[in-house]
């Protein structure tokens, strides 16, 4: 793969990343993250 082709890989991944974030928000995954993050996570702090 030459350098100019290689340059497009991160651009493609950034576009893919944005699409994934939009799909995730649309599927309400942010609600799962929020719910977990605003309650003390017993597993994280080592209480099980």
């Amino acid at each position: 793969m030459n350098e100019s082709q290689k340059k497009w890989i991160p651009i493609f991944l950034i576009v893919l990343g944005i699409c994934f974030v939009v799909i995730g928000v649309w599927q309400q995954e942010t609600a799962d993250v929020f719910r977990k993050a605003v309650n003390i996570c017993m597993e994280c702090i080592g209480l099980g």
Binding site: L13, I23, G24, D32, V33, K36
Partner: protein, 313 residues
């Protein structure tokens, strides 16, 4: 008299600028950690922030159960989504990691991660013999990919209870960042949590203490061998927008870069190694300014002359 004062002033400014440049990374690390963990009341009250910013991920391993945390850890968030009953994959977190990875790669590790900062500070503690890596380093490096696939992806998805709910295996059994930034401050300031201590906390403290002690001797042992988030960003290092290049015409293969590198990377051969945390020490050490990032132009005229053809990417 006036010109003497002026030259003293100019000299002091240049010394200050040099000092600031030398400590720029540390300043960014401290400021970013303070900014993303700025809920001071949480530490005093033994509780955590509950505002809407918690739905957004931060790039580093920053526990959302840290009393000060204003955002969410991507590794914890991924496990939270896949262990919920509604999803088996997190487009949101993977998309976020694709974005940060494709732009910065492991620059996040060197500059924006609180647990990376902790290990950097611990390694500054003087010790009679410092090691650049552990024996068996080549094999041990692969452990972080095993932790990523096993404890972050497969076990949370596969091991489920009767209602189909999994557990965040990495957070529960391994993560030292959760113990340090979440567990310890909450247990110190919250008597209710203190009364619920069990063997699991002892196990996680054991991991934390072992890593703290090891960090004094070896540079960033957790990042090198265990961190699943570092494993994700490492894959992006060779292709991220922010990369290093070596100007082969300027490089004399003197290995000064490798000597300066705390991760012991032969930078002149592999400037985009998966282990590179983009600390910039190799760039600063190179006597020929042969290492440049994709944001800079090479100071040596050769780059223009060679049209970039002799740059190792």
């Amino acid at each position: 008299m006036f010109s003497v004062r002026r030259s003293i002033f100019a000299w002091s400014v240049s010394v200050l600028v040099k000092k600031m440049k030398r400590h720029l990374r540390l300043m960014v690390q401290v400021c970013f950690t303070a900014l993303t963990n700025g809920y001071a009341a949480g530490f005093a009250k033994g509780t955590i922030y509950k505002g809407s910013t918690k739905m957004y991920c931060v790039p580093g391993l920053n526990c959302y159960s840290c009393p000060g945390a204003l955002g969410s850890c991507p590794i914890g968030s991924f496990q939270a989504v896949v262990t919920s009953r509604d999803h088996i994959f997190s487009f949101y977190v993977v998309g976020f990691l694709l974005l940060f990875g494709a732009i910065l790669g492991r620059f996040v590790c060197g500059w924006l991660c609180p647990f990376g900062l902790v290990q950097d500070l611990l390694h500054k503690i003087p010790f009679s013999k410092k090691w650049k890596k552990l024996p068996g380093d080549r094999v041990l490096r692969w452990l972080k990919y095993v932790v990523l696939m096993g404890f972050v992806v497969i076990l949370p998805l596969v091991v489920v209870d009767i209602v189909g709910q999994g557990q965040p295996w990495f957070c529960k059994y391994i993560c030292p960042s959760g113990t340090l930034f979440g567990g310890i401050p909450l247990i110190v300031s919250n008597p209710l949590l203190r009364s619920a201590l069990s063997w699991l906390f002892a196990w996680k403290m054991l991991i934390l203490v072992a890593l703290v002690l090891l960090s004094v001797v070896v540079y960033r042992p957790f990042c090198r061998y265990l961190c699943p988030l570092g494993a994700v960003y490492s894959v992006f290092n060779p292709i991220a927008l922010y990369r290093y290049r070596v100007n082969e015409a300027a490089c004399t293969q003197c290995k000064t870069c490798q000597t300066a590198c705390p991760m012991d990377i032969p930078v002149y051969q592999t400037p985009n190694s998966a282990e590179c945390i983009r600390c910039g020490k190799c760039k600063a050490a190179c006597p020929h300014q042969a290492i440049v990032s994709t944001l800079e132009k090479s100071k040596t005229p050769c780059q223009e002359k060679c049209g970039g053809m002799s740059l190792k990417k």
